[in-house]
């Protein structure tokens, strides 16, 4: 079986700092794999290596069974990327922004259809600077979906959003899963991973310290807090494994 993402023994260091150590994972079609971890755990370095932005020191990355070195343009045409902290040109309208990103691809989704998917149909001709944070985030996701990708990278897509806007992004991700799009998601929010991810990988100091479904992780690592009042949560798992308060993450 060919995975959308298959990573074997990936490592990356910046001088003496080992950002990612011997990491292996895979993502199947229609699956959402969430990567959880405190700041400096190696999430963004892992994402950037998988997105072809950073070269690993060792290990193997296969996207659709292909490598970045040999099949860069084919991989780029089949993936969608939403980077952490990107700012698109604020004086372009939503339509102009999506037209620009669409022009990079041979195959593109109609803008109208895309805006229905991200619930921004009424904002097509509004400049980005006039949109709220949640609406902007949905434009970034729409830009990542313009080529109808088979695999999408979402790096902290709900950071800084209010609960309502976050729910809006969750709905989009759930719809993508239903359409069979593979998703690699990085997040700080436990409930987000729990709600969206088919499987979860917990990273700390560049290493995978646990992985499985949220149910498996809770059963295994929540510290036996299955008392009558409260079941263990993914947050308990995170705290037990990384020893870090969420507020510090």
């Amino acid at each position: 079986m060919t995975y959308l993402i298959e990573v074997k023994n990936l490592s990356k260091s910046f001088r003496s700092f080992e950002a990612v150590k011997d990491l292996s994972l895979h993502v199947e079609q229609g699956e959402c794999l969430a990567i959880l971890g405190p700041n400096g755990a190696g999430k963004t370095t892992t994402f950037e290596m998988l997105e072809g932005l950073l070269k690993p020191d060792s290990g193997e990355i296969l996207l659709f069974g292909k490598t970045w070195d040999k099949d860069r343009s084919e991989i780029l045409s089949r993936i969608g990327v939403q980077l952490q902290e990107t700012s698109l040109y604020k004086r372009f309208t939503v339509r102009e922004t999506l037209e620009l990103f669409g022009s990079f691809y041979k195959q593109r989704k109609p803008i109208k259809e895309l805006l229905e998917l991200v619930d921004l149909s009424d904002k097509m001709d509004v400049e980005l600077r006039k949109l709220s944070g949640g609406q902007k985030q949905r434009v970034y996701i729409a830009a990542a979906l313009i080529n109808d990708p088979e695999l999408i990278f979402l790096d902290e897509p709900t950071t800084g959003l209010d609960p309502l806007a976050r729910r809006g992004v969750w709905n989009i991700i759930n719809n993508l899963k239903k359409e069979g799009v593979g998703i690699l998601l990085s997040t700080h929010h436990m409930e987000e991973a729990e709600y969206l991810a088919s499987r979860i990988v917990i990273l700390d100091s560049g290493k995978i310290i646990a992985q499985g479904t949220s149910k498996e992780l809770i059963e295994k690592f929540s510290g036996g807090e299955k008392v009558t009042v409260r079941h263990g949560t993914l947050e308990d798992v995170f705290l037990n494994l990384t020893g870090k308060e969420l507020a510090n993450v």
Partner: protein, 342 residues
């Protein structure tokens, strides 16, 4: 090709929707032409301001001096006049004794030196000493020989430099800072298309710059390009290409707008001050003229003036075209080696 077309359209939209771009491309050149053109194009010469030391001996020549509208005479003590001289309110101090006329002035100051010659000639004339030759003046105000004709090609060149370096370069730096270049890098967009879109987008803006400068110069001062308009535009395009390539080099690494502004000011300020944009380089010391010969801005200013004022053809200015083209190639090659997407 479609992608390149959309990116060029985006460059145009970025320019059109950025309020500061309107100022730099349209308003700044017009204000400069109107302001400097009127200041230095006054139909009447200002009179020389002469300070006459009150300790001067009575002399009928002083009456002549006061009655001549070529001079504005201010009386005062030596101390007060020296203060006026330091402040630049007068150009020289005159003190007359029964046999001598004492002049106090700065010989490095051209206006002061001219005032000294004019006062001296006036005193001699008043004393009845007729000159050997009767001077006959021909006053020139024909198009092509006025200060404003000298100024307009210089301003166009300066406008090309500032919109290339501050416009194109700043945009690239902001795109890198906002992770937009990184975002482009994870699409199949061709890096060359991105570069070309900036150069072609720049040429669209150049078309506006040339139109604004030439039309406002023509409407307000009757400015006309004496040579071929096509050659004038060709050299403007070459200049824009050279400076856009230079902007790509300057913006090739940094994502810090303040650092970029520092880099660009270090490049532009010496060129603008020594490149003869506002005043002729012949006023500079010879060694400075030789150094400024190698500035790309000097090459652009000189070639545009050659065409606009002297009616030079492409054949007359081909060596400048070669230099500007070489610079474009060198800067573009440098940018392609140095450019970092993230």
């Amino acid at each position: 090709m479609y992608s390149l077309f959309v990116m060029i359209k985006c460059r145009w939209l970025e320019f059109r929707r950025e309020p500061s771009a309107f100022y730099y491309v349209i308003l700044f050149p017009i204000i400069s032409i109107v302001g400097l053109g009127f200041i230095f194009n006054s139909p009447q010469r200002k009179p020389f301001s002469i300070g006459v030391d009150s300790s001067s001996q009575f002399n009928s020549s002083l009456y002549e001096l006061r009655g001549n509208d070529q001079f504005k005479v201010i009386d005062g003590s030596q101390d007060s006049l020296e203060t006026e001289l330091k402040r630049g309110h007068i150009q020289l101090i005159l003190r007359l004794t029964d046999k001598e006329a004492h002049f106090v002035y700065d010989p490095q100051n051209n206006d002061a030196y001219m005032a000294r010659l004019a006062v001296s000639a006036n005193l001699e004339k008043a004393a009845g000493q007729n000159p050997k030759f009767l001077p006959v003046d021909t006053q020139v105000s024909a198009a092509g020989l006025r200060y404003v004709d000298f100024l307009i090609p210089g301003l166009l060149a300066f406008s090309i430099v500032s919109t290339s370096l501050f416009g194109t370069g700043q945009l690239i730096v902001a795109n890198r800072r906002d992770n937009l270049l990184k975002r482009y890098f994870v699409t199949p967009m061709k890096p060359l298309s991105y570069m070309v879109s900036h150069i072609v987008g720049r040429l669209l803006i150049l078309a506006m710059e040339i139109s604004v400068v030439l039309i406002s110069g023509w409407l307000i001062f009757g400015f006309k390009v004496q040579g071929s308009l096509f050659t004038f535009i060709f050299f403007s395009v070459l200049g824009a290409a050279a400076f856009t390539s230079l902007a790509l080099v300057a913006a090739s690494r940094t994502s810090n707008s303040s650092a970029y502004a520092g880099i660009v000011n270090a490049i532009v300020m010496p060129m603008a001050l020594m490149g003869g944009v506002w005043f002729s380089r012949s006023n500079f010391p010879e060694w400075l003229v030789h150094i400024s010969d190698y500035f790309p801005l000097t090459m652009l200013v000189d070639s545009l003036r050659l065409i606009a004022l002297e009616g030079a053809s492409f054949g007359d200015a081909w060596s400048m075209a070669g230099k500007l083209l070489s610079m474009t190639v060198i800067f573009a090659a440098g940018a392609s080696r140095l450019f970092k997407w993230y």
